[in-house]
């Protein structure tokens, strides 16, 4: 399955890219592929949350389909205040 991964804020800065096409059958597969493509992003991922097609996705074993969009969201600006 070809998934579009969109990177925001600190994740984009760490990866040095805004968007990447990756392969995988589950969210976890795609995130593993992301860390191979961009080892620098690995540092940020533990703090991140994810949206699959703009819906919150907490279960990383969820299946992905061709054309899905997975967003990588670092902690929000106001989250810790």
């Amino acid at each position: 399955m070809a998934v579009t991964v969109r990177l925001f804020a600190a994740a984009r800065s760490a990866a040095g890219m805004r968007e990447v096409q990756l392969e995988g059958a589950t969210v976890r597969d795609v995130l593993d592929a992301l860390q191979v493509t961009s080892p620098a992003v690995a540092r940020v991922l533990p703090q991140c949350s994810y949206l699959l097609n703009e819906v919150a996705c907490r279960d990383h074993s969820a299946s992905v389909a061709d054309g899905d969009v997975l967003d990588v969201l670092p902690p929000f600006a106001g989250g810790a205040h």
Binding site: F8, A9, L51, E54, P74, F76, A77, G78, G79, H81
Partner: protein, 152 residues
């Protein structure tokens, strides 16, 4: 107008709400106008302004980045929180893009018949909006370093 359905007790609650995620400067006067009614005795407004320092370091410039869902999520958060209070109307604006020091990044405005609910709702809205809106803040410091706030 955002209509909030209270799922807990199936009661329909609808507080008039103006909600905006915008790159334009926020006009507090405009937001106040959105919540004004001749039978609301109290209007409480919060303005979260961009500071020239953070944890003792001088901030040169900063920029907010918003996720494409920010407007939709803000509408949802605002209607859910507003429905919990005895208020007449609420208006919330969050700015993104580059912001000058001293400008407002978040403004929350609440009108109510009585000042207690106006203060309580305004404070709760600020807390929940800040916690839930998918917006990130990038600061550039005078010493040349930069950071994404809340990201180690």
């Amino acid at each position: 107008m955002v209509t909030a359905g209270n799922a807990l007790d199936n009661e329909q609650v609808s507080i008039p709400a103006y909600v905006s995620v915008t790159t334009d400067p926020i006009s507090v006067t405009d937001l106040v106008r959105h919540v004004s009614t001749t039978h609301a005795g109290a209007v409480v407004t919060f303005s979260g302004d961009v500071r020239d320092n953070d944890h003792g370091r001088d901030v040169l410039s900063l920029e907010y980045e918003a996720h494409p869902t920010a407007q939709t999520i803000l509408e949802k958060v605002v209607s859910q929180v507003a429905a919990k209070f005895e208020v007449e109307a609420v208006a919330v604006a969050h700015r993104h893009g580059p912001i000058a020091i001293g400008d407002a990044a978040l403004v929350v405005c609440v009108s109510a018949r009585h000042r207690g609910p106006a203060f309580d709702a305004c404070s709760a809205l600020v807390d929940e909006v800040k916690a839930q809106i998918p917006i990130w803040k990038h600061q550039v410091f005078a010493d040349g370093t930069d950071e994404w706030v809340n990201c180690a």
